[in-house]
Amino acid sequence: MTKTPAIRRWKRPPFITNPTLRWGLWVGAAIYLAVAFGTMEIDWSRVFEGATRGQRFIASFFPPDFSSRWDSIQDGILESMWMTITSTVIGIILSVPVGLGAARNLSWRPVYLFCRGVLAVSRTFPEIILAIFFVKLFGFGPFAGFLALSVGTIGFYGKLLAEDIESMDPVPAEAIKSVGAGWLQWLNYSVQPQVMPRMIGLGIYRLDINFRESAVVGIVGGGGIGATLLTSFDRYEFDSAAAILLIIIAIVMALEYTSGYIREWVQ
């Protein structure tokens, strides 16, 4: 009599071992989704009635009118670009010390907590909230928009810089320390070369974001192309608004393309 070896079955162990909990979570999620969709009120008759009005609204965007408001469009674009560039540069300059302080492997504990706090606060509020706040503080105009974008940049760039520094290779940094370099020399020779390529890429990406945000910020009174866009909506000049939207789309696409290209080149 030959003994056949028992077949040993294998199944990947589930992520949540307790079956009641595992199935309970699935069922709970399904019930919540069903209830959430149930409470969403969609009045289909109203949607149907409004469809023709919506069609007229969309139609009034065409053909886009570039010429009749060209001067104010041009001013708005130039103001937005000014806001974008200054806020990106100032934001990045200010975010470097904050980012260095917020990198755990570089910084002294109280400084680390303080800088992380600064980053957390500036990342809590989206640019539009910051813009509303600065418009209240400093009045309408591009200065408020500039401040909002700068603060947003500090949060974005500082956090990513800190994280990049935390994940750098510590061994070359140790080597530069061992030759007797000072702290600034150490930063310049071992930290900077390691984080620079990524940070250049992120800087250009932020320029891109800031231009898009500059349009949003304008709508709440922060100046720039957003303000022009809002004015044309208020005057029911939808053909001019369409022109502005097309210009924004074109500039964002151009920026995105160049930023992608430059980032690839820097790597």
């Binding site: 370099a181 000072g182 020779y189 071992s190 070369p193």
Partner: protein, 279 residues
Amino acid sequence: MLRIENLEKRYQTGDLALKGVDLEVPKGQVMALIGPSGAGKSTLIRCVNRLVQPTSGKVYLGDLELTHLGSRELRRARTRMGMIFQEYALVERLSVMENVLSGRLGYVGFWRSYFRKFPQADIDEAFNLLERVGLDHMADKRADELSGGQRQRVGICRALIQNPDLLLVDEPTASLDPKTSRQIMRLICELCDERQLAAIINIHDVLLAQMFSRRIVGLQLGSIVYDGPPEKLNPQVLTQIYGEEDWEATIEASKDVEDEEDVLEAAAALQVTRVNPPS
């Protein structure tokens, strides 16, 4: 040149990495420090230049006691100690020349180093050293374009341009193939000899240690268990350092290797001439 007295290191985890080590390395001596992983070899040399802060004990470089130096004095003392690393520890995105010149950072001010305006004497010395290791034609290559052996040569140049009194060498060959390992060890030993440097070389390869060093110190669980010439390393001693294993083969091999030395020497000389391009 280097004197270590009752050095102890306890890590925050509570592990006692060094248990009262006493050690003296005179000028011009190349000492090999062997021992299993976790014996405390790396900790020991890092306690000397204080990349790791020792818990207690004294370290003298010449007459200077190192363990209590303030940051400014420590920087000055570190310029006198060159360090060579296992993974080369080059800054990969800097050029070969910048990596070598970074060895002079302790001697030049921030703005000079920032604009890469090093004194001409430093630049001359950098070229001399690169020429000595056969890499002067690579000066403007980025460090990440080099092979492992070439990178370690650059690492050696960076340590030597400090004009140190002492070399701390941490597993210089652990990432290299056997032939390159021997070339690198030979180069380090020759350069120490030329410049009369004291050196501590951490190495886990017993054979290489026996080939290139006239003094071997065995470290086991943070204590020195052997200090003597390579010939006296017998199976008992190796068992004490590393634990139970058949050591006869290793010892036999090291004897063969010594006979082979001349052949290898000639081969290495050939290699160096080949590495140097005709200018």
